[in-house]
Symmetry: C2
Subunit: 242 residues, 2 copies
């Protein structure tokens, strides 16, 4: 009996995912973009139990500054860049992608333009939606985070980081685009390097920021579709002065 | 002596304005857009002294719902749409523009694409920057507001309203664009009618919203340049499906 209930649940999940995928394809079909359904992960790195006892209530939602390993023996080794877990791994930059895929099960997508479909936007903060994006010979980490910077007022923060050095990151421009209900919001910026830490980018607010009300206007049945495009900076610079 | 001091002050103000105008022109010169320097006005409509005594501190920054005149004798008359003052004026929609110009000294600019240069972004909330924009045979009201939705955390809200009916407003799309420091943020939406009240649009968050940190990244020496463009909705609909 339990087996049949589980099978039925799995079939329902598949139908639900297929339906979301179909809806996102309908919205973004004109551009023929690849749609990736991304499920949320409740961040274990900054769970409320980890908050310092003396912290004020207004600060509870604020993430602590980036925590790098205290004893890195080889300066060429980098710590794990996964925003979800406090992971003791360290290794060379070239193997960060395989670590993220194998240990943290983060999916990787190919293509210059993709659509990131984040499901279950209603889940409480802190929650992260994460994928890797392979494009123009490099890999990027896209992070969408729901977080309470001000207690009781969750916001969504989206940014893209290059899995590479800050110098390499300066060669690219990423664009995040929301488009629904006769509203369109576009954010374009130079990606940061994962070595700079996603938490500090989000706490600085140097990313796409959405209030809950605006996220609801752009979401469809609890899912938020974000169009992503990456270009080399030369194209961006030519257009830069409007 | 006082006369000379005042003259010197006026000359300094002129030089400062000219310098700001020059800087904005430099940024937006490629498109040959008209730059309008807009000075802030501390909103008298919702000054702290008007807050109800029983209001909680968390709600103090939240504006009350739109206050329409209780006794409008003629249904064709509309109340004053100026977001800055509680004004007892009422009249026909056709004369709202001349009322805003003459009584509230709100400037009006011509042109399909203009640059709104809001000065003194550091001033405390609540503060409004307002102009009217004449384009495609209609007049629009652009409102940039600094407001504390969450106590101690001011945000900037920018929206465009048609000085016309909601049905007329549906024929247009407005775009607000910020572009500086290798970052670009674009917001596109259908303007609301001034009859719908700017305060409710801002409290719903259905507009361009900027945290202070992001506003600082986009501002130059305390001034924020917002590129504005208005098109008819047909153009927007054709592009709508990305």
């Amino acid at each position: 009996m339990l087996f049949f209930t589980q099978c039925f649940g799995a079939v329902l999940d598949l139908i639900h995912l297929r339906f979301q995928h179909y809806k996102a394809k309908r919205v973004f079909s004109a551009a023929g973009q690849l749609v990736c359904v991304v499920n949320p992960t409740h961040s274990l790195k900054y769970a409320p139990t980890r908050c310092a006892a003396g912290q004020t209530s207004a600060e509870q939602g604020v993430l602590p500054p980036c925590h790098h390993h205290e004893a890195v023996h080889d300066p060429q080794l980098v710590p794990c860049t996964c925003p979800l877990f406090s992971c003791p791994w360290e290794g060379h930059l070239e193997v960060v992608v395989s670590h993220l895929r194998q240990t943290h099960r983060i999916n990787i997508l190919q293509g210059a333009e993709i659509v990131f479909l984040a499901t279950d936007m209603h889940l409480p903060a802190p929650t992260d939606w994460i994928i890797m994006h392979s494009c123009l010979g490099h890999q990027f980490l896209l992070v969408l985070r729901k977080q309470e910077k001000y207690e009781g007022h969750p916001q969504f923060f989206a940014t893209m980081m290059l899995i590479g050095t800050p110098t390499q990151a300066d060669n690219f421009t990423y664009r995040l685009e929301l488009n629904r209900n006769q509203r369109r919001l576009k954010w374009e910026a130079t990606p940061r390097s994962v070595l700079e830490c996603v938490d500090s980018v989000i706490s600085d607010g140097d990313c796409l920021v959405l209030n809950t009300s605006l996220a609801q206007l752009f979401s469809d049945n609890g899912s938020l579709a974000i169009g992503i495009a990456i270009t080399t900076s030369k194209v961006h610079n030519a257009e830069d002065e409007m």
